[in-house]
C-alpha cells in the first residue's frame, strides 16, 4: 500500500472574474513509504499545485471529470474539512518552504516548538523533542538564536528540524534549496538524504534544481498540469531499508 496516493487530481484557480488558471489537469501519483521523490518541471507546470494538494493545503476539484481520490496511509483525505486537514498537517506531515520559513520574533527552539504545539505535544516532552530535532540538524547550540541571527542555510536547517519534530509520516519541501548558494544547498540536501536513508523518512521535494533531482530515488516530471514521466532514475534502486537489516553505513 502506498503511503500517499492520488488520482484524477485536478485544480483550477480563479484569479479574477474572467481569468482562471487550470493548474492541474488530471494527475495520478503514488508515493511509497521510505521514498525520496523529486517533482520537477518548468514554472507553470503545476508542480507546486500538486504539492499543495498532497500536503492537504488545497483540496482537489471534484468537478469536470471523474471523482478525485487522495489517500494517506489508506485513509481517504480528498474532501476533508479545513479543520480535519489542518489537524493531519499538524500531526502527520512536515513542511519546508523556499524562504521565510520561520517566525522572526521566536528563537530557533521556539520555532521548532511551534510545530510541537500544533501537534499536541506539550511540556518537557515537546522541549526534549525540539532540542533533539535541532541536534539532528546540527544546530543544538544555536537554539536561542532568532532567525535574524542565523544564516540562510541555518534557517533552512531549523525549518527541517521543525518539519521533523512531530515524527511525520511524510515531509513535503517546496524548493528548499531555492534561496541557498551551492554549498548550503548541498548541506541541506545531505540532511534530507540522511533522514531518508537512515530513518526511512518519506520525503517529497518540489524543485527545479537538477542536483536535488539527482539526489532522489525518483523524479516525477511535470509539464502543463500533467505528469510527463514518473520513472525511476537510472541507477541506484530506492527502497527504504527496514531497520532490522540496515547495513552499517560509514
Amino acid at each position: 500500500m502506498a503511503l500517499l496516493e492520488g488520482s484524477n487530481l485536478r485544480k483550477t484557480y480563479r484569479l479574477s472574474k474572467r481569468n482562471t488558471v487550470e493548474a492541474l489537469k488530471g494527475v495520478e501519483i503514488s508515493i511509497e513509504a521510505g521514498e525520496m521523490v523529486a517533482i520537477m518541471g518548468p514554472s507553470g507546470s503545476g508542480k507546486s499545485t500538486l504539492m499543495h494538494i498532497l500536503g492537504l493545503l488545497h483540496t482537489p476539484d471534484p468537478n469536470h471529470g471523474p471523482a478525485p481520490e487522495l489517500r494517506l496511509a489508506g485513509e481517504n483525505v480528498a474532501s476533508l474539512s479545513d479543520n480535519a486537514r489542518t489537524r493531519i498537517r499538524a500531526r502527520r506531515m512536515g513542511f519546508v518552504f523556499q524562504d521565510f520559513n520561520l517566525v522572526p520574533t521566536l528563537t530557533a527552539l521556539e520555532n521548532v516548538l511551534l510545530a510541537c504545539e500544533y501537534a499536541g505535544i506539550k511540556g518537557k516532552v515537546a522541549r526534549d523533542a525540539a532540542i533533539e530535532a535541532l541536534g539532528l540538524v546540527g544546530l543544538a547550540d544555536r537554539a536561542d538564536h532568532k532567525p535574524s541571527e542565523l544564516s540562510g542555510g541555518e534557517q533552512q536547517r531549523v525549518a527541517i528540524a521543525r518539519a521533523l519534530v512531530n515524527k511525520p509520516e511524510i515531509i513535503l519541501a517546496d524548493e528548499p534549496t531555492g534561496n541557498l548558494d551551492s554549498d548550503r544547498s548541498t548541506e541541506v540536501l545531505a540532511l534530507f538524504r540522511q533522514f531518508n536513508r537512515e530513518h526511512g523518512q518519506t520525503i517529497v521535494l518540489v524543485t527545479h534544481d537538477s542536483e536535488v533531482g539527482e539526489a532522489c530515488d525518483r523524479v516525477v516530471k511535470m509539464r502543463d498540469g500533467r505528469i510527463r514521466n514518473s520513472g525511476l532514475r537510472t541507477g541506484t534502486p530506492v527502497m527504504a531499508v527496514p531497520a532490522a537489516t540496515a547495513p552499517a553505513t560509514a
Binding site: F97, F100, V103, T105, Y118
Partner: protein, 390 residues
C-alpha cells in the same frame, strides 16, 4: 511572553495605540472617582432623610433661612403618628456665605442631644473624644466632623473659633464620606446665640434667642411613613412651611447624580469608540504585516481558531496594558487632587476597588473585542496565498 514580544515588533505603533486607550481609561478613573464621592455624599444624605421629615421655612440651600418658633415643635409633636420632634439651628460656618465648589458647605449645627428620643438611625462613629450630652446644654463645646477638624487643624481639647466665638473641642467624628464630615455640632443654646448674632440688628432686637429654630426634625412612629407625617404637618402649619422627606431629597438630587452618570457614560462611550477603533486599526495592520507568518503557521498545522486566538489575545493585551497605565495615572491624579484639596476640606475623589476593577476589565474587554474582526480575517487567509505574499 511571546505576546509582549509581538507587541514590541512595532514599538511606536503599539505605544500610540496603548496611549490612546490609556487616556480614555484615565478619564474614566478620575471621573468615576468623583462620581463615587458624589454618590457617597448623596447616598449618605438619602440614608439620613429616609426615616424622618425636616420642617423649615425657606430653603437652607439657598441661604434664606427664616426662624421657626419653638412652639411649632410642640404643635408638631401633638400630631397623630409623630413619635418625636426636635428643634435644630443650622447655619453656614463661614459668615460670608457661598458654598465650596463641590459637595456640601461647612456648617454649624445645633440641637438637643437626645432630642431624637433614640429614634435617629444615622449613626456616626467617634474617632476621638466624646459626644455632646444634656449636661453640655449651656456650654460652648463642639464635636467636629473629620474634614472640618483636619482643615482647622485641631484635636480634642483645643479651642476653636466658630463665627468668632470660642468653643472647646470635646470630640471628633470618624469620616462618614458625607455632609457631617464638614459640620461643627454644638448645643442648641450656643447655636441659637450664634444664629441671632448673625441677623441684622433690627431683627435681633425682636427675637428671643432661646425661642427659635431653623428646622424641626420630626420622627414618625413605627409603622407610619414620613410621607404621611409630611401631609399632616403641611395641613397643620400651612403653605409657608417646607417639609422635606427622603423622597423629596431623592427627587431633588436625583437629577444631579443623573447628570453625573450621563457624563460618566459619555466618557466611557467616547473612549470605547476612539480606543476601540484605534486598536482595530492597529491589529489590522499587524495582521497584514504578518500575512506570510500566518501562512506558515497555518501550513504547518495551526488551526483557524488558533490564529484567531492569537490575534484576540494580543489585542486584549494592548487593552490590559493600557488599562493598567490609565489606572495608575488616574490614581495618581485623584491622590494629587485630594491632597491639594484636603487643606480646604475638599476631598472630592474616591477611587474604589470597584472603579479600578471596572477600568481594567473594560479596557481589556475593549481590546479583545477590537481584535475580533482582524482575527477573523487572519483566520480566513488561504495559507498558500499568504505564504507568497510580498
Amino acid at each position: 511572553m511571546r505576546l509582549v514580544r509581538d507587541l514590541g515588533r512595532r514599538k511606536l505603533r503599539s505605544t500610540l495605540t496603548i496611549t490612546g486607550i490609556a487616556i480614555g481609561i484615565m478619564a474614566l478613573v478620575v471621573f468615576g472617582s468623583m462620581a463615587n464621592k458624589m454618590n457617597a455624599l448623596i447616598g449618605g444624605g438619602s440614608k439620613y432623610y429616609q426615616d424622618k421629615a425636616i420642617v423649615s421655612v425657606g430653603s437652607m440651600y439657598s441661604g434664606n433661612i427664616q426662624p421657626l418658633a419653638l412652639s411649632d415643635v410642640q404643635k408638631i409633636e401633638s400630631i397623630d403618628g409623630v413619635a418625636a420632634a426636635t428643634p435644630t439651628v443650622d447655619m453656614l460656618l463661614s459668615s460670608e456665605g457661598g458654598a465650596t465648589s463641590m459637595g456640601t458647605p461647612e456648617m454649624i449645627t445645633g440641637s438637643i442631644p437626645g432630642g431624637d428620643k433614640g429614634l435617629e438611625t444615622f449613626k456616626i462613629d467617634l474617632a476621638s473624644g466624646r459626644e455632646l450630652t444634656a449636661a453640655d446644654a449651656d456650654s460652648k463645646v463642639t464635636v467636629l466632623g473629620s474634614d472640618l477638624a483636619r482643615r482647622l487643624n485641631v484635636k480634642v481639647g483645643d479651642k476653636v473659633a466658630l463665627r468668632d466665638v470660642q468653643f472647646t473641642v470635646v470630640g471628633i467624628w470618624a469620616p462618614t464620606l458625607t455632609a457631617p464630615d464638614k459640620d461643627a455640632y454644638v448645643p442648641l443654646a450656643a447655636a441659637q446665640d450664634l444664629f441671632v448674632k448673625s441677623l441684622p440688628p433690627l431683627i435681633q432686637s425682636k427675637i428671643v434667642a432661646s425661642d427659635i429654630a431653623t428646622g424641626i426634625t420630626v420622627y414618625p412612629q413605627k409603622g407610619v411613613s414620613p410621607e404621611t407625617i409630611k401631609t399632616r404637618i403641611e395641613d397643620l402649619l400651612g403653605k409657608d412651611y417646607t417639609v422635606m422627606t427622603g423622597k423629596d431629597f431623592d427627587a431633588m438630587l436625583g437629577s444631579f447624580s443623573a447628570i453625573f452618570s450621563l457624563v460618566l457614560t459619555g466618557i466611557a462611550l467616547l473612549s470605547l469608540l476612539v480606543g476601540g477603533l484605534s486598536t482595530i486599526n492597529t491589529m489590522a495592520m499587524a495582521v497584514a504585516e504578518r500575512t506570510r507568518e500566518i501562512g506558515i503557521k497555518r501550513a504547518i498545522g495551526a488551526s483557524r481558531w488558533r490564529i484567531r486566538r492569537e490575534v484576540v489575545l494580543e489585542s486584549a493585551a494592548i487593552g490590559l496594558i493600557a488599562g493598567l497605565i490609565g489606572l495608575v495615572i488616574g490614581a495618581a491624579m485623584t491622590t494629587l487632587f485630594n491632597d491639594l484639596g484636603r487643606e480646604s476640606g475638599n476631598v472630592l475623589f474616591e477611587l474604589t476597588l470597584g472603579t479600578a476593577a471596572t477600568a481594567i476589565i473594560f479596557a481589556t474587554g475593549l481590546g479583545a473585542i477590537a481584535g475580533f474582526i482582524p482575527a477573523w480575517h487572519a483566520s480566513r487567509l488561504d495559507p498558500v496565498t499568504a505564504l507568497r505574499y510580498e
